[in-house]
């Protein structure tokens, strides 16, 4: 009843994360924060970054209203940010962006992206890439990085 492409976008891990919402909630003590809106749908995410004294990311927290893809993406992101240096963060964001722009051509690097590679199926759906990117753009902005194109 659903095509293989659709099943590949909405994998179980994604639907599960969309429900479980790892990292949901905004605690005090953020070292950076960003609020992003997806203009196509009006969905929003607010994302806090908590960094250690040495600059490493300890964790993120987020809140927002969005589709299963953006929600799962935020949840999956929050699973892989622990203890990352600035360079490591940049590398992971770049890898995720590359995956999203691949139109289904690449698999995604599990070492860098963990379970977030499951979002690779989204890249075949041009109207949904912004959904998956939304928390990542917020993350990038909260870290004070200029978003790459």
């Amino acid at each position: 009843m659903a095509s293989r492409e659709l099943e590949s976008m909405y994998q179980h891990v994604i639907l599960d994360h969309a429900k479980e919402k790892h990292g949901f909630g905004l605690r005090d003590g953020a070292t950076g924060s960003s609020h992003q809106i997806n203009p196509t749908c009006g969905d929003e995410v607010t994302l806090n970054v908590y960094r250690a004294a040495d600059g490493r990311v300890e964790s993120i927290g987020w809140e927002g209203q969005g589709c299963s893809i953006s929600t799962a993406s935020a949840s999956l992101l929050s699973d892989i940010v622990h203890d990352l240096t600035a360079d490591e963060v940049t590398e992971r964001i770049a890898a995720f962006r590359e995956l999203m722009q691949s139109k289904g051509a690449i698999e995604g690097d599990e070492d860098l992206l963990g379970d977030a590679v499951a979002l690779g199926g989204v890249s075949r759906y041009i109207t949904r890439i912004k959904c998956a990117m939304l928390p990542w753009v917020a993350f990038e902005d909260a870290l004070g990085l200029t978003p790459a194109r």
């Binding site: 659903a2 492409e5 659709l6 429900k19 749908c41 009006g42 969905d43 209203q65 589709c67 299963s68």
Partner: protein, 439 residues
């Protein structure tokens, strides 16, 4: 070229066999999407185009294309005639005079034209004749809570520019404009009342007569957003007695890039210009200029000529099919859609239930939420079966907020849709619940 639709029947609705012949006029409806025949249920956003309309534009460029109102050569004469005939066709379609029709890019530009014309009047443009358009502190502009952003943000900005106050008539829990609220809000200070004929989210026909009576009772101008009515109902603007109205061609079988502003002749001729430039002036000095009467006063620069001609062709097509029969058909589709959706567990349809007895008319459009599934996910699931619907806030955030949601899924029909397509959409919505694990 003529449409194949049976002209002899006088039934107040299309029949399935008519619709099947109509479908054959729309090339895109033969397309496949994701391995399924396209089921296009997003006409509320933009409609598809019959071959005849597509061909009219092509033929214009292959045979007659030239600058209108600017040349004396043969092509220019032909183009001008086609362009002005198109204006007359539109005027007849909505029951007004030719020179009360102004071409715009879309309905949005029409509403901005009125709003900017009024702020220019407030600055003194148009002199005494434009007095009734002047706004200032203490004056009020009234809209409703169900407006499309196109009929809301321009008034917010006009209020900002002039110091006037924007007031908003609420929508009841039943999804209808609160006339009690309207009676309270519309008063001595009211200068403009702007509202949608049919809501693009709630799908109900709004009480035009009542709101016009309230507005005219206090001498306020009425601006009607006819975007969702002009394509679907017989529209007689003179009979509705509104002062201004707007609609968009692309929602009624015509190309993108052309819209219509109607204004009562004496109002249009008193409203100061909005866009300025070529073709709307009589004399241009170095520091001051004089302007033509309406409608040309509002048509600065090279116009959307082929698009206007194509809109006239679309209107001819609609006229041949018959607006009453289209409305009858869509009312049936709308009823079927509404009943199908509300029967699905966890589905809530926004707006009033259709109820002929209580005078609640709905068009063939319904916006709904599926508990536990975001509208974009619902839409994606439908798209996977080739069913195109709209998801999101449909450029009407306030009415979504009013009903406690940020987004809905919207199914909207037109003359080329069938009951079977409506059923397919309803079935897919039901199936989406299992797919997303909420059933």
């Amino acid at each position: 070229m003529t449409t194949d639709v049976d002209q002899t029947t006088t039934a107040a609705t299309l029949e399935l066999h008519d619709v099947e012949r109509i479908r054959a006029d729309f090339p895109i409806l033969g397309r496949e999407v994701n391995g399924h025949p396209l089921v296009y249920l997003d006409s509320g956003a933009t409609s598809q185009k019959p071959q005849r309309v597509i061909d009219v534009e092509r033929s214009y460029y292959e045979l007659n294309n030239a600058a209108v109102h600017r040349g004396a050569h043969t092509l220019a004469g032909e183009a001008t005639e086609l362009f002005e005939d198109a204006r007359a066709t539109v005027a007849r379609f909505v029951g007004v005079a030719d020179d009360e029709i102004v071409w715009t890019s879309n309905a949005t530009e029409g509403l901005n034209l009125i709003a900017y014309g009024m702020s220019n009047a407030s600055l003194g443009r148009g002199g005494d004749a434009a007095r009734r358009f002047r706004l200032g502190e203490g004056d009020e502009i009234v809209v409703t809570e169900l407006e499309h952003h196109a009929n809301l943000v321009p008034w917010q900005e006009l209020a900002f520019r002039t110091g006037a106050t924007l007031r908003v008539i609420g929508v009841g829990d039943d999804g209808r404009i609160r006339l009690d609220d309207a009676a309270e809000i519309i008063g001595e200070r009211t200068r403009v009342v702007a509202f949608a004929h049919v809501s693009n989210v709630l799908g109900a026909v709004n009480p035009v007569a009542e709101l016009v009576a309230l507005a005219h009772g206090v001498g306020a101008l009425v601006v009607l957003d006819a975007c969702q009515s002009a394509p679907h109902l017989s529209l007689d603007l003179a009979a509705l007695d509104v002062d201004f109205a707007v609609f968009s061609g692309h929602k009624m079988l015509a190309p993108t890039g052309v819209g219509v502003l109607y204004g009562r002749s004496e109002l249009l001729n008193a409203l100061p210009p909005f866009l300025t430039g070529g073709s709307m002036i009589t004399t241009v000095g170095l520091t001051e200029s004089e302007f033509l009467p309406a409608p040309m006063r509002f048509e600065a620069g090279t116009q959307r000529v082929s698009q206007a001609i194509a809109l006239a062709s679309a209107i001819d097509y609609l006229g041949e099919v018959g607006m009453a029969r289209i409305a009858g058909w869509e009312a049936q589709l709308g009823e079927r859609l509404y009943q199908g959706l509300v029967a699905i567990p966890g589905v809530r349809v926004l707006g009033p239930a259709p109820d002929a007895a209580a005078g609640v008319e709905r068009v063939g459009l319904a916006s709904f939420v599926v508990d536990g599934i975001h509208s974009h996910d619902v839409g994606q699931f439908l798209d996977d079966r080739g069913i195109a619907v709209r998801v999101g806030h449909h450029c009407a955030q306030p009415v979504h907020r009013r009903f406690g949601v940020t987004a809905t899924t919207r199914v909207s029909t037109y003359l080329y849709n069938t009951p079977d397509e409506v059923d397919q959409a309803v079935a897919a919505v039901a199936d989406s619940r299992a797919f997303f694990g909420v059933a």
